[in-house]
Amino acid sequence: MTWLAFDLHPEYPLGGIPREQLHARYGDGFHESLKRSFEIAGLVYNPPPDVVPNTLAALSLTELARDRGLHRPMHERLMDAYWAEARNIGDPAVLRELGGEVGFAEDDVASAIRDDGLTNRVRTSTAQAQSLGVTGVPAFVLDNRLLVLGAQPRSVFQDALAQLREPDDAQST
């Protein structure tokens, strides 16, 4: 399984947006539903209460981690920091701290979040996904053939995988 970058909200300012703005857009019910999903899965739902960050710097840092063979620990550390620990992962100081936990020097993190090559990689990856029909995250492409959009229940993936086992001519009908 290969995780790829998708900048969901490139329009957010570098400082992020107030969380209340997101609640106004999607409604409180959406977040209550999300919280219940986390709880059912045994996960902690505790995103930052005040801000929804711009994630370009975090995604760029993850690309540096990919280059250094540290993608998985960096990716998972950022996920936990945002969703369970209410950390603002758009804040460079927070990224320096989290990167340090994974093994990066502070200078590496500072360079990564300003690195045009890494940010362009994030943007290109996002554009490529959009060209495949990806409009949100997570987005899964199974066996280069099936696109599953969103955090779907297990049964959807079961059905998708079952479809992949069918002959090619059956899939096109």
């Binding site: 399984m1 290969t2 995780w3 790829l4 970058a5 998708f6 900048d7 969901l8 909200h9 995103p47 929804v52 960050p53 994630t55 975090a58 995604l59 990919r66 950022l78 996920m79 945002y82 992962i89 990689r121 290109t124 990856s125 996002t126 490529q128 996904a129 495949l132 029909g133 990806v134 995250v137 997570p138 987005a139 899964f140 492409v141 199974l142 066996d143 280069n144 053939r145 099936l146 696109l147 599953v148 959009l149 779907q152 229940p153 049964s155 959807v156 993936f157 079961q158 059905d159 998708a160 995988l161 079952a162 479809q163 992949l164 086992r165 899939q171 096109s172």
Partner: protein, 44 residues
């Protein structure tokens, strides 16, 4: 190509979920381990 040597998917077919049916998927873990799976994600 974003990353060198990555055989990225080009034209996946959108999966349209049928009516959900409960039931075991025998060997799903093996399938996921064998099949290439690409996941685009953000942190928010």
């Amino acid at each position: 190509m974003v990353y060198p040597d990555d055989p990225r998917p080009r034209h996946p077919q959108a999966f349209k979920a049928p009516a959900l049916e409960a039931g075991p998927l025998i060997g799903h873990r093996v399938l996921v381990d064998v099949l290439p799976v690409w996941v685009w994600s953000d942190y928010i």
